[in-house]
């Protein structure tokens, strides 16, 4: 197995970020414009123009915050998985020439998406400050739940990246699963509107637990459900372990196939 090079990962992350806006006049400024526009849509269009309100809350910005703290991490999660699923195919020119550690290719995608996430969140926190949001120490848990979310994205990304090499249709399947998964996660709606039967099944979805945790911390000023998070942490690490074990077993075939 090739060594995992921190230098290579950072180099790929920088290149990925700069290539996205290569040739444009504004360049890296676009990295700030996109999150700002997205946040504008969540807060102004959905929260104000469409009059979205959170049940049981009189705060006019409650739904905007509810939507933003669910959508911003989800965008990072979904992009990390969908981009990871094709990374071995897209970078086969590097893989065939250099003895590169394949999981490091997924690390750079995750890092690149995390940078976009941080930029968007910086704008969100500016909005919270402007609207006199009451910050509490519970917010310190936010990075750890996000970290758990990205470990899950990495595990699922590694699994799909490995299998997509042998079965190209899988990248389309991943896209469809992510689309369905988004609508079965209470991001744009509150979980209370779901029928009891659906809700009793969805509570086992990892993204349901993660999104509910974000909402509890940011919107309801409460601690997340500790038992659910501890179980999810164990499941996430089992997924990561299984994905890595599968990748290790198939690594030689993956390189040969590419």
């Amino acid at each position: 197995m090739a060594a995992l090079s921190a230098h290579l990962i950072w180099d790929l992350t920088k290149r990925d970020f700069s290539e996205r806006f290569a040739g444009s006049i504004l360049g890296a400024i676009w990295a700030f414009i996109w999150p700002l526009v997205n946040l504008f849509i969540y807060i102004v269009i959905f929260g104000q123009f469409m009059g979205g309100r959170l049940p049981g809350s009189s705060d006019v910005y409650a739904y905007s915050i509810y939507l933003s703290v669910g959508l911003i991490p989800w965008t990072c999660f979904a992009a990390s998985i969908s981009r990871s699923s094709t990374v071995f195919l897209e970078k086969k020119h590097i893989i065939s020439k250099v003895d590169v550690s394949l999981p490091s290719l997924l690390v750079f995608i995750n890092l690149s998406e995390i940078i976009t996430f941080i930029i968007t969140n910086a704008f969100l926190f500016c909005f919270l400050v402007v609207t006199n949001y009451e910050f509490s120490l519970k917010l310190l848990l936010f990075p750890f739940i996000f970290f758990l979310q990205q470990i899950l994205a990495f595990g699922l990304g590694l699994l799909s990246a490995t299998l997509t090499v042998f079965l190209r249709d899988l990248k389309e399947v991943v896209g469809i699963i992510l689309q369905l998964w988004f609508w079965f996660t209470p991001i744009v709606y509150v979980s209370g509107i779901l029928p009891d039967v659906v809700r009793s099944v969805l509570v086992f979805s990892p993204t349901f637990i993660i999104t509910e945790s974000y909402h509890r911390i940011f919107v309801f000023n409460d601690y997340p459900a500790v038992t659910s998070l501890v179980i999810l942490t164990a499941i996430t690490h089992v997924i990561l372990l299984a994905s890595y074990a599968l990748f290790r077993a198939l690594e030689k075939d993956v390189r040969d196939f590419l």
Binding site: M1, L137, L140, L141, F144, F147, L148, I151, Y223, P224, V226, L229, V230, T233, A234, H237, L240, L241, Y244, R248
Partner: protein, 64 residues
């Protein structure tokens, strides 16, 4: 304050353990060890952090 201190100490402890293990262990099993450390680290954060609020209240009440 205690909550923030706990996060810093807990993180530092695991960074040191992970770094030393990564340097000392030469075979690929260290990747699985990192996963175990990661699991312990996050579980510790999620379990201990909410409990510190009560401790924090008691301590501030005592100091006040």
């Amino acid at each position: 304050m205690i909550e923030a201190l706990f996060v810093i100490v807990w993180t530092w402890l695991f960074i040191m353990a992970a770094y030393l293990s990564w340097v000392k262990i030469v075979n690929h099993w260290k990747v699985y060890l990192m996963m175990a450390y990661n699991w312990l680290y996050l579980t510790g954060i999620f379990v201990i952090y909410p409990k510190l609020q009560g401790l924090s209240r008691i301590l501030y009440g005592y100091l006040a």
